[in-house]
Symmetry: C2
Subunit: 190 residues, 2 copies
């Protein structure tokens, strides 16, 4: 099945975007649910997130970022700026919940977001509509949707790095072969 | 639940290692199964892997790397060097399979590996036993097991980066906020 190779970079495709966005909650659930807290509550040092915190951040994205911004583009175009995204908000709000509760909440919110997205029946010309980002300026709906999918991947990338970090000494001399341990914590998604 | 924070780096702990190793096949399955091939067969450019290739590489690790090396440490200590690990071998061998088949194969092999690992009933003194890596020299069984878990995370990190890469142009100006797109493909696990 891998006999052909696809090297070119993809354009945002609504079905492809939705197919990836659909899978993230189940992937995080399979990875994190009931894992010992020693994996899920540790972070990479001061002012960094744990896997638990990242799930809280993803919940906040569903509530205040992705579909709310998509709606703003369709309703107001460039005439109204998006609300800035506070990446630490949900982390403060999720302190008293369990990781299992957060995973359920993320799955429920994502499912609602995607139901709403599908119900919009977006056409090609809708995807080209523009909104206004407070720091980035004019952005298209298509770019917003592609960023939503890539943002999921940024945080899966971050979670795998956070967890590997916990064993950075335990791996001994293998450290130099494990690419994830060379990753310099570059995630700063907004 | 996140009221306490755990900042110190963990030592390899057999139960924690197994708990993470157990979850990787299901996490990859939830992320990748039935995803359009445009996500799973594309790579990051020449001599890089697609998500499909990475699953093949993980299968090869189960067959020829992790438990075979653990057995060698317990049987021969430092008197016999491990076989070098050919990271492209399984990729060549998996060309005619579907991703679904590879995911099933990985899950089956991982389950067998962990059954065997549990059956060894390793004691603390076993974990300190040493073997000989062809390039790294003396390594302990504990380091091997920690590296197995961190190797899973390296490849989850890689897969999330490969998939995000496909949308690196589609995200438009958000590119600068998406940490995964700054990751310079540093994985070279052996």
């Amino acid at each position: 099945m891998a006999a052909f190779e696809l090297r070119s970079i993809m354009e945002q495709n609504l079905e492809h975007t939705i197919s990836l966005l659909t899978r993230t909650p189940a992937a995080l659930d399979a990875l994190l649910r009931d894992l010992p807290e020693t994996w899920t509550l540790r972070n990479e040092g001061e002012k960094t997130m744990s896997a638990f915190d990242v799930v809280g951040h993803l919940i906040n994205g569903e509530r205040t970022n992705w579909m709310p911004r998509a709606r703003m583009i369709l309703q107001f175009g460039e005439t109204r700026e998006f609300e800035p995204f506070d990446r630490w908000k949900q982390i403060r709000e999720s302190k008293d919940k369990s990781l299992g509760q957060l995973l359920d909440e993320f799955a429920g919110l994502r499912s609602e977001s995607l139901d709403e997205l599908r119900a919009l029946n977006l056409r090609k010309e809708d995807l080209e509509r523009r909104g206004r980002h407070p720091a980035l300026g004019a952005v298209t709906l298509s770019e917003l949707l592609a960023s939503w999918a890539a943002h999921d991947m940024t945080h899966l990338h971050q979670i795998s790095r956070i967890m590997a970090h916990q064993y950075r000494e335990a791996v001994g001399p293998w450290k130099r072969y494990l690419g994830v341990l060379q990753c310099a914590g570059h995630s700063s998604p907004k």
